[in-house]
Protein backbone atom coordinates (compact mmCIF):
# COMPACT_ATOMS: atom_id res chain seq x y z
CA UNK A 1 0.00 0.00 0.00
CA UNK A 2 2.68 2.42 1.10
CA UNK A 3 4.61 1.36 -1.97
CA UNK A 4 2.17 2.97 -4.34
CA UNK A 5 2.50 6.22 -2.40
CA UNK A 6 6.26 6.34 -2.91
CA UNK A 7 6.21 8.42 -6.10
CA UNK A 8 4.03 11.02 -4.40
CA UNK A 9 6.32 10.98 -1.43
CA UNK A 10 9.37 11.69 -3.56
CA UNK A 11 7.60 14.65 -5.08
CA UNK A 12 6.62 16.04 -1.68
CA UNK A 13 10.21 15.65 -0.51
CA UNK A 14 11.52 17.68 -3.43
CA UNK A 15 8.82 20.31 -2.99
CA UNK A 16 9.66 20.68 0.70
CA UNK A 17 13.30 21.21 -0.16
CA UNK A 18 12.35 23.83 -2.72
CA UNK A 19 10.06 25.61 -0.29
CA UNK A 20 12.83 25.71 2.25
CA UNK A 21 15.43 27.04 -0.18
CA UNK A 22 13.26 29.53 -1.99
CA UNK A 23 9.87 30.20 -0.37
CA UNK A 24 9.09 32.56 -3.25
CA UNK A 25 8.87 29.58 -5.57
CA UNK A 26 5.83 28.25 -3.75
CA UNK A 27 3.37 30.56 -5.43
CA UNK A 28 1.11 30.68 -8.44
CA UNK A 29 3.82 32.32 -10.51
CA UNK A 30 6.49 30.01 -9.13
CA UNK A 31 4.64 26.84 -9.95
CA UNK A 32 3.77 28.11 -13.40
CA UNK A 33 7.43 28.71 -14.12
CA UNK A 34 8.88 25.67 -12.41
CA UNK A 35 6.44 23.16 -13.77
CA UNK A 36 5.51 24.23 -17.27
CA UNK A 37 8.46 22.42 -18.82
CA UNK A 38 7.44 19.36 -16.85
CA UNK A 39 4.31 18.95 -18.97
CA UNK A 40 6.08 17.77 -22.11
CA UNK A 41 8.22 15.51 -19.94
CA UNK A 42 5.13 14.04 -18.34
CA UNK A 43 3.58 13.44 -21.75
CA UNK A 44 6.73 11.78 -23.05
CA UNK A 45 6.86 9.68 -19.89
CA UNK A 46 3.29 8.54 -20.49
CA UNK A 47 4.24 7.63 -24.06
CA UNK A 48 7.14 5.57 -22.77
CA UNK A 49 4.86 4.02 -20.16
CA UNK A 50 2.54 2.62 -22.82
CA UNK A 51 5.47 0.96 -24.53
CA UNK A 52 6.82 -0.41 -21.26
CA UNK A 53 3.35 -1.71 -20.38
CA UNK A 54 3.72 -4.08 -23.32
CA UNK A 55 7.18 -5.25 -22.18
CA UNK A 56 8.95 -3.16 -24.79
CA UNK A 57 11.22 -0.13 -24.59
CA UNK A 58 11.22 2.96 -26.79
CA UNK A 59 14.65 4.47 -27.33
CA UNK A 60 13.31 6.82 -29.98
CA UNK A 61 10.78 8.83 -28.00
CA UNK A 62 13.23 11.69 -27.44
CA UNK A 63 14.11 12.25 -31.07
CA UNK A 64 10.48 11.64 -31.99
CA UNK A 65 9.45 14.49 -29.71
CA UNK A 66 12.12 16.59 -31.42
CA UNK A 67 10.75 15.67 -34.85
CA UNK A 68 7.21 16.53 -33.80
CA UNK A 69 8.52 19.80 -32.45
CA UNK A 70 10.10 20.67 -35.79
CA UNK A 71 6.91 19.79 -37.68
CA UNK A 72 4.84 21.80 -35.21
CA UNK A 73 7.00 24.88 -35.64
CA UNK A 74 6.97 24.66 -39.43
CA UNK A 75 4.25 22.73 -41.26
CA UNK A 76 1.62 22.91 -38.55
CA UNK A 77 1.91 26.68 -38.52
CA UNK A 78 2.40 27.34 -42.22
CA UNK A 79 0.15 24.65 -43.66
CA UNK A 80 -1.96 23.27 -40.83
CA UNK A 81 -3.61 20.61 -42.92
CA UNK A 82 -0.36 19.07 -44.10
CA UNK A 83 1.04 19.46 -40.60
CA UNK A 84 -1.85 17.53 -39.11
CA UNK A 85 -1.46 14.85 -41.76
CA UNK A 86 2.25 14.50 -41.04
CA UNK A 87 1.60 14.16 -37.33
CA UNK A 88 -1.16 11.62 -37.86
CA UNK A 89 1.11 9.80 -40.26
CA UNK A 90 3.86 9.67 -37.64
CA UNK A 91 1.42 8.12 -35.16
CA UNK A 92 0.68 5.64 -37.93
CA UNK A 93 4.39 4.89 -38.21
CA UNK A 94 4.44 4.12 -34.51
CA UNK A 95 1.51 1.76 -34.94
CA UNK A 96 3.29 0.07 -37.84
CA UNK A 97 6.39 -0.34 -35.72
CA UNK A 98 4.28 -2.09 -33.12
CA UNK A 99 2.96 -4.42 -35.80
CA UNK A 100 6.43 -5.06 -37.19
CA UNK A 101 7.83 -5.79 -33.76
CA UNK A 102 5.05 -8.26 -33.07
CA UNK A 103 4.91 -9.98 -36.44
CA UNK A 104 8.65 -10.47 -36.81
CA UNK A 105 9.13 -10.92 -33.09
CA UNK A 106 11.86 -8.25 -33.05
CA UNK A 107 13.58 -6.76 -30.03
CA UNK A 108 11.91 -3.37 -29.73
CA UNK A 109 15.04 -1.81 -28.31
CA UNK A 110 16.90 -2.30 -31.60
CA UNK A 111 14.02 -1.19 -33.78
CA UNK A 112 13.48 1.97 -31.77
CA UNK A 113 17.21 2.60 -31.61
CA UNK A 114 17.18 2.61 -35.41
CA UNK A 115 14.10 4.79 -35.42
CA UNK A 116 15.77 7.29 -33.12
CA UNK A 117 18.20 8.02 -35.97
CA UNK A 118 15.37 8.20 -38.47
CA UNK A 119 13.40 10.74 -36.44
CA UNK A 120 16.45 12.85 -35.76
CA UNK A 121 17.38 12.80 -39.43
CA UNK A 122 13.87 13.78 -40.44
CA UNK A 123 13.89 16.55 -37.85
CA UNK A 124 17.06 17.97 -39.39
CA UNK A 125 15.57 17.69 -42.86
CA UNK A 126 12.40 19.47 -41.76
CA UNK A 127 14.32 22.16 -39.89
CA UNK A 128 17.94 22.36 -41.06
CA UNK A 129 18.64 25.13 -38.59
CA UNK A 130 16.84 26.16 -35.43
CA UNK A 131 13.82 28.35 -35.90
CA UNK A 132 10.24 28.12 -36.93
CA UNK A 133 7.41 29.29 -34.77
CA UNK A 134 4.67 27.59 -32.85
CA UNK A 135 1.11 28.13 -34.11
CA UNK A 136 -0.59 30.93 -32.23
CA UNK A 137 -3.36 28.77 -30.79
CA UNK A 138 -0.73 26.52 -29.28
CA UNK A 139 1.15 29.47 -27.82
CA UNK A 140 -1.95 30.84 -26.18
CA UNK A 141 -2.94 27.40 -24.93
CA UNK A 142 0.39 26.85 -23.21
CA UNK A 143 0.37 30.40 -21.83
CA UNK A 144 -3.12 29.92 -20.42
CA UNK A 145 -3.48 31.35 -16.92
CA UNK A 146 -6.45 29.82 -15.14
CA UNK A 147 -7.58 31.34 -11.87
CA UNK A 148 -6.19 29.98 -8.60
CA UNK A 149 -4.44 26.84 -9.81
CA UNK A 150 -1.49 27.20 -12.20
CA UNK A 151 -1.94 25.65 -15.63
CA UNK A 152 0.86 23.05 -15.35
CA UNK A 153 -0.74 21.56 -12.26
CA UNK A 154 -4.12 21.36 -13.97
CA UNK A 155 -2.49 19.82 -17.03
CA UNK A 156 -0.64 17.25 -14.94
CA UNK A 157 -3.82 16.29 -13.10
CA UNK A 158 -5.68 16.03 -16.36
CA UNK A 159 -3.06 13.84 -18.02
CA UNK A 160 -2.83 11.56 -15.01
CA UNK A 161 -6.59 11.25 -14.68
CA UNK A 162 -7.29 10.59 -18.34
CA UNK A 163 -4.56 8.01 -18.77
CA UNK A 164 -5.32 6.38 -15.44
CA UNK A 165 -8.92 5.99 -16.47
CA UNK A 166 -8.05 4.72 -19.92
CA UNK A 167 -5.41 2.22 -18.96
CA UNK A 168 -6.32 1.22 -15.43
CA UNK A 169 -10.10 1.41 -15.37
CA UNK A 170 -11.46 0.59 -18.81
CA UNK A 171 -12.00 -2.98 -19.86
CA UNK A 172 -9.67 -2.74 -22.86
CA UNK A 173 -7.00 -1.18 -20.66
CA UNK A 174 -6.97 -4.46 -18.77
CA UNK A 175 -6.24 -6.30 -22.00
CA UNK A 176 -3.43 -3.89 -22.82
CA UNK A 177 -1.80 -4.39 -19.44
CA UNK A 178 -2.44 -8.10 -19.56
CA UNK A 179 -0.42 -8.31 -22.77
CA UNK A 180 2.58 -7.24 -20.73
CA UNK A 181 1.73 -9.52 -17.82
CA UNK A 182 1.18 -12.81 -19.62
CA UNK A 183 0.90 -12.59 -23.37
CA UNK A 184 0.36 -16.32 -23.80
CA UNK A 185 -2.61 -16.26 -21.44
CA UNK A 186 -4.16 -13.46 -23.40
CA UNK A 187 -3.74 -15.31 -26.64
CA UNK A 188 -5.30 -18.40 -25.11
CA UNK A 189 -8.29 -16.30 -24.19
CA UNK A 190 -8.70 -15.33 -27.80
CA UNK A 191 -7.27 -11.79 -27.82
CA UNK A 192 -5.12 -10.51 -30.65
CA UNK A 193 -1.63 -9.65 -29.45
CA UNK A 194 -0.99 -7.90 -32.73
CA UNK A 195 -3.78 -5.51 -31.93
CA UNK A 196 -2.66 -4.81 -28.36
CA UNK A 197 0.85 -4.07 -29.57
CA UNK A 198 -0.41 -1.76 -32.29
CA UNK A 199 -2.66 0.07 -29.86
CA UNK A 200 0.10 0.49 -27.28
CA UNK A 201 2.55 1.84 -29.84
CA UNK A 202 -0.04 4.11 -31.41
CA UNK A 203 -0.82 5.51 -27.96
CA UNK A 204 2.89 6.07 -27.43
CA UNK A 205 3.00 7.90 -30.75
CA UNK A 206 -0.02 9.98 -29.81
CA UNK A 207 1.46 11.07 -26.51
CA UNK A 208 4.80 11.66 -28.19
CA UNK A 209 3.03 14.05 -30.55
CA UNK A 210 1.32 15.78 -27.65
CA UNK A 211 4.65 16.07 -25.86
CA UNK A 212 6.37 17.63 -28.89
CA UNK A 213 3.54 20.08 -29.40
CA UNK A 214 3.45 21.06 -25.74
CA UNK A 215 7.20 21.56 -25.74
CA UNK A 216 7.08 23.86 -28.76
CA UNK A 217 4.13 25.71 -27.26
CA UNK A 218 6.40 26.60 -24.35
CA UNK A 219 9.69 27.21 -26.13
CA UNK A 220 7.85 29.00 -28.99
CA UNK A 221 10.27 27.77 -31.61
CA UNK A 222 12.06 24.56 -32.45
CA UNK A 223 15.45 22.98 -32.76
CA UNK A 224 16.19 19.58 -34.27
CA UNK A 225 17.96 18.46 -31.10
CA UNK A 226 15.32 19.73 -28.72
CA UNK A 227 13.92 16.42 -27.52
CA UNK A 228 17.03 14.25 -27.35
CA UNK A 229 17.17 14.20 -23.58
CA UNK A 230 13.61 12.94 -23.25
CA UNK A 231 14.42 9.32 -23.97
CA UNK A 232 16.30 8.81 -20.73
CA UNK A 233 14.07 11.18 -18.78
CA UNK A 234 10.96 9.30 -19.83
CA UNK A 235 12.37 5.91 -18.91
CA UNK A 236 13.57 7.25 -15.57
CA UNK A 237 10.17 8.84 -14.99
CA UNK A 238 8.32 5.57 -15.52
CA UNK A 239 10.64 3.71 -13.17
CA UNK A 240 10.60 6.48 -10.57
CA UNK A 241 6.82 6.31 -10.76
CA UNK A 242 6.87 2.70 -9.67
CA UNK A 243 6.77 1.05 -13.09
CA UNK A 244 8.75 -2.05 -13.93
CA UNK A 245 10.47 -2.96 -17.18
CA UNK A 246 8.65 -6.25 -17.58
CA UNK A 247 5.40 -7.70 -16.49
CA UNK A 248 3.03 -4.92 -17.49
CA UNK A 249 3.36 -3.27 -14.09
CA UNK A 250 2.99 0.44 -14.74
CA UNK A 251 1.20 3.34 -13.11
CA UNK A 252 0.06 6.41 -15.06
CA UNK A 253 -0.30 8.52 -11.93
CA UNK A 254 3.10 7.36 -10.76
CA UNK A 255 4.60 8.16 -14.15
CA UNK A 256 3.29 11.73 -14.08
CA UNK A 257 4.52 12.18 -10.51
CA UNK A 258 7.86 10.69 -11.49
CA UNK A 259 8.17 13.10 -14.40
CA UNK A 260 7.34 16.09 -12.17
CA UNK A 261 9.83 14.93 -9.58
CA UNK A 262 12.56 14.57 -12.16
CA UNK A 263 11.79 17.95 -13.64
CA UNK A 264 11.84 19.65 -10.24
CA UNK A 265 14.88 17.84 -8.91
CA UNK A 266 16.92 18.43 -12.04
CA UNK A 267 16.43 22.13 -12.29
CA UNK A 268 14.68 24.32 -9.70
CA UNK A 269 16.10 22.52 -6.71
CA UNK A 270 19.55 22.60 -8.23
CA UNK A 271 19.38 26.25 -9.21
CA UNK A 272 18.23 27.28 -5.77
CA UNK A 273 21.04 25.51 -4.00
CA UNK A 274 23.91 27.68 -5.26
CA UNK A 275 26.49 25.03 -5.80
CA UNK A 276 29.92 25.76 -7.33
CA UNK A 277 29.68 25.25 -11.11
CA UNK A 278 32.01 22.25 -11.16
CA UNK A 279 29.73 20.32 -8.84
CA UNK A 280 26.32 21.32 -10.13
CA UNK A 281 26.15 18.30 -12.39
CA UNK A 282 27.14 16.05 -9.52
CA UNK A 283 24.47 17.63 -7.34
CA UNK A 284 21.94 16.69 -9.98
CA UNK A 285 22.95 13.06 -9.58
CA UNK A 286 23.10 13.31 -5.81
CA UNK A 287 19.57 14.69 -5.61
CA UNK A 288 18.27 11.76 -7.64
CA UNK A 289 20.07 9.34 -5.37
CA UNK A 290 18.78 10.98 -2.20
CA UNK A 291 15.21 11.08 -3.47
CA UNK A 292 15.36 7.40 -4.34
CA UNK A 293 17.26 6.38 -1.24
CA UNK A 294 14.62 7.99 0.94
CA UNK A 295 12.13 5.64 -0.64
CA UNK A 296 14.21 2.67 0.39
CA UNK A 297 13.83 3.40 4.08
CA UNK A 298 10.10 3.22 3.66
CA UNK A 299 9.88 0.20 1.42
CA UNK A 300 12.31 -1.62 3.66
CA UNK A 301 10.25 -0.97 6.73
CA UNK A 302 7.24 -2.30 4.89
CA UNK A 303 8.84 -5.68 4.28
Amino acid sequence: MLRSLLPALSLVLVLLAIAWLNPRAISYFGFSLMLNLAIPIALATIAQMFVIAGNELDLSIGTFVGFVGCVTATWLKDAPLIGVLILLGSIGVYALLGALIHLRNLPSIVVTLGMSFVWQGLAILVLPKPGGKAPDWLLSLMAFKPPLVPFPIIAALLIAAVVHFGLMRTSYGVILRGSGGNAAALERAGWSLLRTKIVLFALAGLFGVLSGMALIGITTSADANIGNGYTLLSIAGVILGGGEFVGGRVSPIGAVLGALTLALAASPLLTFMHIPPDWQVAANGAILIIVLAARVLISRRER
Binding site: L33, M34, K129, P130, T219, T220, D223, N225, I226, Q280
Partner: protein, 315 residues
Protein backbone atom coordinates in the same frame (compact mmCIF):
# COMPACT_ATOMS: atom_id res chain seq x y z
CA UNK B 1 24.90 48.92 -10.22
CA UNK B 2 26.38 47.81 -6.92
CA UNK B 3 23.07 46.33 -5.79
CA UNK B 4 22.43 44.31 -8.94
CA UNK B 5 22.66 40.57 -9.27
CA UNK B 6 23.72 38.92 -12.51
CA UNK B 7 23.34 35.22 -13.26
CA UNK B 8 25.17 33.26 -15.90
CA UNK B 9 23.27 30.43 -17.57
CA UNK B 10 25.53 27.91 -19.24
CA UNK B 11 24.58 24.56 -20.73
CA UNK B 12 27.80 22.61 -20.82
CA UNK B 13 31.18 22.66 -19.11
CA UNK B 14 32.93 19.59 -20.42
CA UNK B 15 35.50 20.85 -22.91
CA UNK B 16 38.50 23.12 -22.77
CA UNK B 17 36.75 25.95 -24.59
CA UNK B 18 33.90 26.01 -22.09
CA UNK B 19 36.32 25.72 -19.20
CA UNK B 20 38.29 28.69 -20.52
CA UNK B 21 35.02 30.55 -20.97
CA UNK B 22 34.00 29.84 -17.36
CA UNK B 23 37.47 30.79 -16.15
CA UNK B 24 37.46 34.11 -17.95
CA UNK B 25 34.00 34.82 -16.65
CA UNK B 26 34.75 34.01 -13.05
CA UNK B 27 38.05 35.92 -13.04
CA UNK B 28 36.34 39.04 -14.30
CA UNK B 29 33.18 38.74 -12.21
CA UNK B 30 34.96 37.88 -9.00
CA UNK B 31 36.88 41.10 -9.26
CA UNK B 32 33.71 42.99 -10.16
CA UNK B 33 32.00 41.70 -7.05
CA UNK B 34 35.00 42.50 -4.89
CA UNK B 35 35.08 45.99 -6.31
CA UNK B 36 31.36 46.24 -5.52
CA UNK B 37 30.53 46.89 -9.15
CA UNK B 38 27.75 44.31 -8.82
CA UNK B 39 26.28 42.55 -5.81
CA UNK B 40 26.49 39.02 -7.14
CA UNK B 41 27.49 37.15 -10.26
CA UNK B 42 26.58 33.49 -9.96
CA UNK B 43 27.28 30.76 -12.46
CA UNK B 44 24.75 28.02 -13.30
CA UNK B 45 25.75 25.12 -15.47
CA UNK B 46 23.63 22.28 -16.76
CA UNK B 47 25.14 19.05 -17.93
CA UNK B 48 23.68 17.99 -21.13
CA UNK B 49 23.53 20.73 -23.78
CA UNK B 50 19.78 20.18 -23.73
CA UNK B 51 17.37 22.96 -24.63
CA UNK B 52 14.55 22.05 -22.23
CA UNK B 53 16.96 21.79 -19.31
CA UNK B 54 18.36 25.21 -20.00
CA UNK B 55 14.91 26.69 -20.57
CA UNK B 56 13.91 25.39 -17.16
CA UNK B 57 17.08 26.83 -15.71
CA UNK B 58 16.31 30.28 -17.08
CA UNK B 59 12.82 30.11 -15.64
CA UNK B 60 14.24 29.23 -12.26
CA UNK B 61 16.68 32.12 -12.45
CA UNK B 62 13.68 34.37 -13.02
CA UNK B 63 12.16 33.02 -9.82
CA UNK B 64 15.33 33.83 -7.93
CA UNK B 65 15.07 37.51 -8.70
CA UNK B 66 18.20 38.18 -10.70
CA UNK B 67 18.44 41.52 -12.48
CA UNK B 68 20.28 40.21 -15.50
CA UNK B 69 21.00 36.89 -17.11
CA UNK B 70 24.07 36.28 -19.23
CA UNK B 71 23.49 33.23 -21.35
CA UNK B 72 25.36 30.89 -23.64
CA UNK B 73 22.32 29.24 -25.16
CA UNK B 74 21.82 25.69 -26.34
CA UNK B 75 19.64 26.91 -29.18
CA UNK B 76 19.16 30.29 -30.81
CA UNK B 77 15.40 29.97 -31.16
CA UNK B 78 14.13 27.28 -28.89
CA UNK B 79 14.92 29.24 -25.73
CA UNK B 80 12.98 32.25 -26.90
CA UNK B 81 9.95 31.35 -24.81
CA UNK B 82 11.93 31.41 -21.59
CA UNK B 83 13.93 34.48 -22.62
CA UNK B 84 10.74 36.36 -23.34
CA UNK B 85 9.41 35.48 -19.90
CA UNK B 86 12.59 36.90 -18.40
CA UNK B 87 12.35 40.12 -20.40
CA UNK B 88 8.69 40.44 -19.43
CA UNK B 89 9.58 40.68 -15.74
CA UNK B 90 12.27 43.23 -16.54
CA UNK B 91 15.35 41.07 -16.56
CA UNK B 92 18.17 42.06 -18.88
CA UNK B 93 19.31 39.16 -21.05
CA UNK B 94 22.65 39.12 -22.83
CA UNK B 95 23.56 36.17 -25.00
CA UNK B 96 26.89 35.27 -26.54
CA UNK B 97 28.48 32.37 -28.45
CA UNK B 98 25.23 30.42 -28.48
CA UNK B 99 23.08 33.51 -29.04
CA UNK B 100 19.29 33.81 -28.85
CA UNK B 101 17.12 35.41 -31.50
CA UNK B 102 14.46 36.80 -29.17
CA UNK B 103 14.52 40.55 -29.98
CA UNK B 104 14.39 41.69 -26.37
CA UNK B 105 17.75 40.06 -25.64
CA UNK B 106 21.20 41.42 -26.42
CA UNK B 107 23.53 39.42 -28.63
CA UNK B 108 27.29 39.47 -28.58
CA UNK B 109 27.91 37.92 -31.96
CA UNK B 110 30.88 36.70 -33.83
CA UNK B 111 30.62 36.78 -37.59
CA UNK B 112 30.85 33.06 -38.13
CA UNK B 113 29.97 33.33 -41.77
CA UNK B 114 32.94 35.58 -42.31
CA UNK B 115 35.07 33.08 -40.46
CA UNK B 116 34.04 30.41 -42.95
CA UNK B 117 34.82 32.68 -45.88
CA UNK B 118 38.18 33.56 -44.42
CA UNK B 119 39.11 29.90 -44.09
CA UNK B 120 38.98 29.56 -47.88
CA UNK B 121 40.77 32.86 -48.42
CA UNK B 122 43.59 31.72 -46.16
CA UNK B 123 43.64 28.30 -47.76
CA UNK B 124 44.17 29.98 -51.11
CA UNK B 125 47.33 31.55 -49.76
CA UNK B 126 48.84 28.20 -48.80
CA UNK B 127 47.48 26.17 -51.67
CA UNK B 128 47.52 28.65 -54.55
CA UNK B 129 46.93 25.90 -57.10
CA UNK B 130 43.69 24.95 -55.38
CA UNK B 131 42.58 21.34 -55.09
CA UNK B 132 40.35 19.01 -53.12
CA UNK B 133 39.07 20.04 -49.69
CA UNK B 134 37.60 18.02 -46.87
CA UNK B 135 35.07 19.82 -44.70
CA UNK B 136 34.40 18.92 -41.08
CA UNK B 137 31.01 20.17 -39.96
CA UNK B 138 29.85 20.89 -36.44
CA UNK B 139 26.74 19.79 -34.60
CA UNK B 140 24.02 19.25 -37.18
CA UNK B 141 20.96 21.44 -36.84
CA UNK B 142 22.67 24.32 -35.03
CA UNK B 143 22.96 27.88 -36.28
CA UNK B 144 26.72 28.17 -35.81
CA UNK B 145 27.32 25.09 -37.92
CA UNK B 146 25.00 26.52 -40.50
CA UNK B 147 26.71 29.93 -40.57
CA UNK B 148 30.27 28.66 -40.87
CA UNK B 149 29.22 26.16 -43.50
CA UNK B 150 27.50 28.89 -45.49
CA UNK B 151 30.64 31.00 -45.28
CA UNK B 152 32.79 28.15 -46.53
CA UNK B 153 30.43 27.56 -49.44
CA UNK B 154 30.59 31.23 -50.34
CA UNK B 155 34.35 31.12 -50.19
CA UNK B 156 34.52 28.09 -52.44
CA UNK B 157 32.09 29.68 -54.86
CA UNK B 158 34.42 32.66 -55.08
CA UNK B 159 37.43 30.43 -55.65
CA UNK B 160 36.49 27.72 -58.11
CA UNK B 161 39.95 26.21 -57.94
CA UNK B 162 38.83 24.58 -54.70
CA UNK B 163 36.41 21.71 -54.58
CA UNK B 164 34.88 20.14 -51.47
CA UNK B 165 35.09 16.41 -52.15
CA UNK B 166 34.08 15.17 -48.76
CA UNK B 167 32.11 16.41 -45.78
CA UNK B 168 31.80 14.72 -42.43
CA UNK B 169 30.07 15.61 -39.19
CA UNK B 170 32.39 16.15 -36.26
CA UNK B 171 29.90 17.49 -33.72
CA UNK B 172 32.62 19.91 -32.50
CA UNK B 173 34.06 16.98 -30.70
CA UNK B 174 37.62 15.96 -31.43
CA UNK B 175 36.91 12.27 -30.98
CA UNK B 176 33.89 12.27 -33.26
CA UNK B 177 35.72 14.36 -35.82
CA UNK B 178 38.77 12.12 -35.89
CA UNK B 179 36.58 9.08 -36.19
CA UNK B 180 34.56 10.56 -39.01
CA UNK B 181 37.67 11.60 -40.90
CA UNK B 182 39.22 8.16 -40.37
CA UNK B 183 36.21 6.45 -41.90
CA UNK B 184 36.02 8.65 -44.98
CA UNK B 185 39.74 8.96 -45.75
CA UNK B 186 40.27 5.58 -47.40
CA UNK B 187 37.78 6.43 -50.09
CA UNK B 188 38.84 10.04 -50.74
CA UNK B 189 41.14 11.27 -53.51
CA UNK B 190 44.15 13.35 -52.46
CA UNK B 191 43.18 16.19 -50.18
CA UNK B 192 45.08 19.49 -50.15
CA UNK B 193 43.23 21.08 -47.30
CA UNK B 194 40.83 20.59 -44.41
CA UNK B 195 38.35 23.30 -43.44
CA UNK B 196 36.60 22.92 -40.12
CA UNK B 197 34.83 24.80 -37.37
CA UNK B 198 37.65 25.11 -34.89
CA UNK B 199 38.99 22.53 -32.49
CA UNK B 200 38.82 19.65 -34.94
CA UNK B 201 42.18 20.31 -36.59
CA UNK B 202 44.28 18.15 -34.32
CA UNK B 203 41.97 15.16 -34.62
CA UNK B 204 41.97 15.50 -38.40
CA UNK B 205 45.77 15.59 -38.44
CA UNK B 206 45.86 12.38 -36.38
CA UNK B 207 43.43 10.66 -38.72
CA UNK B 208 45.58 11.53 -41.75
CA UNK B 209 48.68 10.25 -40.01
CA UNK B 210 46.94 7.02 -38.96
CA UNK B 211 45.76 6.36 -42.51
CA UNK B 212 49.23 7.04 -43.87
CA UNK B 213 47.93 9.83 -46.09
CA UNK B 214 49.99 12.96 -46.91
CA UNK B 215 49.47 15.85 -44.53
CA UNK B 216 47.13 18.51 -45.96
CA UNK B 217 46.81 22.13 -44.92
CA UNK B 218 44.49 21.99 -41.92
CA UNK B 219 42.80 25.13 -40.67
CA UNK B 220 43.18 25.22 -36.91
CA UNK B 221 41.00 26.41 -34.04
CA UNK B 222 43.16 28.06 -31.38
CA UNK B 223 43.46 25.07 -29.08
CA UNK B 224 46.80 24.55 -27.43
CA UNK B 225 47.25 21.10 -28.95
CA UNK B 226 46.44 22.43 -32.40
CA UNK B 227 48.92 25.29 -32.14
CA UNK B 228 51.50 22.98 -30.65
CA UNK B 229 51.15 20.55 -33.55
CA UNK B 230 51.34 23.47 -35.96
CA UNK B 231 54.57 24.58 -34.34
CA UNK B 232 56.05 21.10 -34.53
CA UNK B 233 55.22 20.89 -38.23
CA UNK B 234 56.53 24.37 -38.84
CA UNK B 235 59.79 23.58 -37.12
CA UNK B 236 60.06 20.41 -39.17
CA UNK B 237 59.42 21.72 -42.66
CA UNK B 238 58.00 25.21 -42.53
CA UNK B 239 54.38 24.06 -42.60
CA UNK B 240 51.91 26.92 -42.92
CA UNK B 241 48.31 27.37 -41.90
CA UNK B 242 45.85 29.66 -40.14
CA UNK B 243 43.81 29.42 -37.00
CA UNK B 244 40.53 30.99 -35.93
CA UNK B 245 37.87 30.58 -33.29
CA UNK B 246 35.60 32.57 -31.06
CA UNK B 247 37.51 33.66 -27.96
CA UNK B 248 36.16 32.11 -24.76
CA UNK B 249 36.72 35.44 -23.05
CA UNK B 250 33.69 36.81 -24.86
CA UNK B 251 31.82 35.64 -21.77
CA UNK B 252 33.40 38.51 -19.85
CA UNK B 253 32.37 40.97 -22.53
CA UNK B 254 28.79 39.73 -22.25
CA UNK B 255 28.96 40.31 -18.51
CA UNK B 256 30.06 43.91 -18.96
CA UNK B 257 27.35 44.51 -21.51
CA UNK B 258 24.79 43.33 -18.96
CA UNK B 259 26.36 45.57 -16.35
CA UNK B 260 26.30 48.56 -18.66
CA UNK B 261 22.63 48.01 -19.49
CA UNK B 262 21.79 47.70 -15.82
CA UNK B 263 23.72 50.91 -15.31
CA UNK B 264 21.08 52.62 -17.32
CA UNK B 265 22.64 52.90 -20.72
CA UNK B 266 19.99 52.85 -23.39
CA UNK B 267 22.16 53.46 -26.43
CA UNK B 268 23.56 49.97 -26.65
CA UNK B 269 22.48 48.17 -29.80
CA UNK B 270 20.96 44.75 -29.30
CA UNK B 271 23.38 43.20 -31.77
CA UNK B 272 27.05 43.69 -30.98
CA UNK B 273 29.57 42.36 -33.44
CA UNK B 274 32.92 41.34 -32.01
CA UNK B 275 35.86 39.95 -33.93
CA UNK B 276 36.76 36.31 -33.73
CA UNK B 277 40.22 35.48 -32.52
CA UNK B 278 42.59 34.46 -35.31
CA UNK B 279 46.27 33.56 -35.43
CA UNK B 280 48.57 33.60 -38.42
CA UNK B 281 51.87 32.01 -39.25
CA UNK B 282 53.60 35.02 -37.74
CA UNK B 283 51.90 35.50 -34.41
CA UNK B 284 50.77 32.11 -33.22
CA UNK B 285 54.06 31.16 -31.62
CA UNK B 286 53.96 34.18 -29.38
CA UNK B 287 50.54 33.13 -28.11
CA UNK B 288 51.35 29.45 -27.59
CA UNK B 289 53.24 29.72 -24.27
CA UNK B 290 50.40 31.76 -22.77
CA UNK B 291 47.87 28.99 -23.23
CA UNK B 292 47.59 26.43 -20.48
CA UNK B 293 48.53 22.92 -21.62
CA UNK B 294 45.50 21.29 -23.16
CA UNK B 295 43.58 24.56 -23.05
CA UNK B 296 42.54 27.16 -25.58
CA UNK B 297 43.64 30.69 -26.46
CA UNK B 298 41.52 33.35 -24.83
CA UNK B 299 41.22 37.03 -24.17
CA UNK B 300 39.46 38.63 -21.23
CA UNK B 301 37.69 41.95 -21.46
CA UNK B 302 37.99 44.67 -18.87
CA UNK B 303 35.21 47.17 -18.33
CA UNK B 304 37.11 49.67 -20.49
CA UNK B 305 37.58 47.10 -23.28
CA UNK B 306 33.89 46.41 -23.15
CA UNK B 307 32.91 50.05 -23.29
CA UNK B 308 35.21 50.47 -26.27
CA UNK B 309 33.74 47.42 -27.98
CA UNK B 310 30.24 48.76 -27.42
CA UNK B 311 31.25 52.12 -28.78
CA UNK B 312 32.60 50.50 -31.92
CA UNK B 313 29.17 49.09 -32.53
CA UNK B 314 27.28 52.32 -32.12
CA UNK B 315 26.95 53.82 -35.57
Amino acid sequence: TSGKKIAFSNNYAGNSWRQAMLDSYSIVTKKAVEDKVVAAADIFTTADKEVPTQAAQVQNLILQGYDAIVINAASPDALNGAIKQACDVGIVVVSFDGIVTEPCAYRVVVDFKDMGRQEIEQMAKFQPKGGNLLEIRGLAGTSIDDAIHAGILEGVAARPEFKIVGSVTGDWDQTTAQKAVATILPSLPDIVGVVDQGGDGYGAAQAFAAAGKPRPTIIMGNRQDELQWWKEQKDKDGYQTWSASIAPGVSSLAFWVAQQVLDGRTDIPHDLLVPYLAFTQDDFEAELPKIVKGGVASHEYTQEDAIAAIKANIK
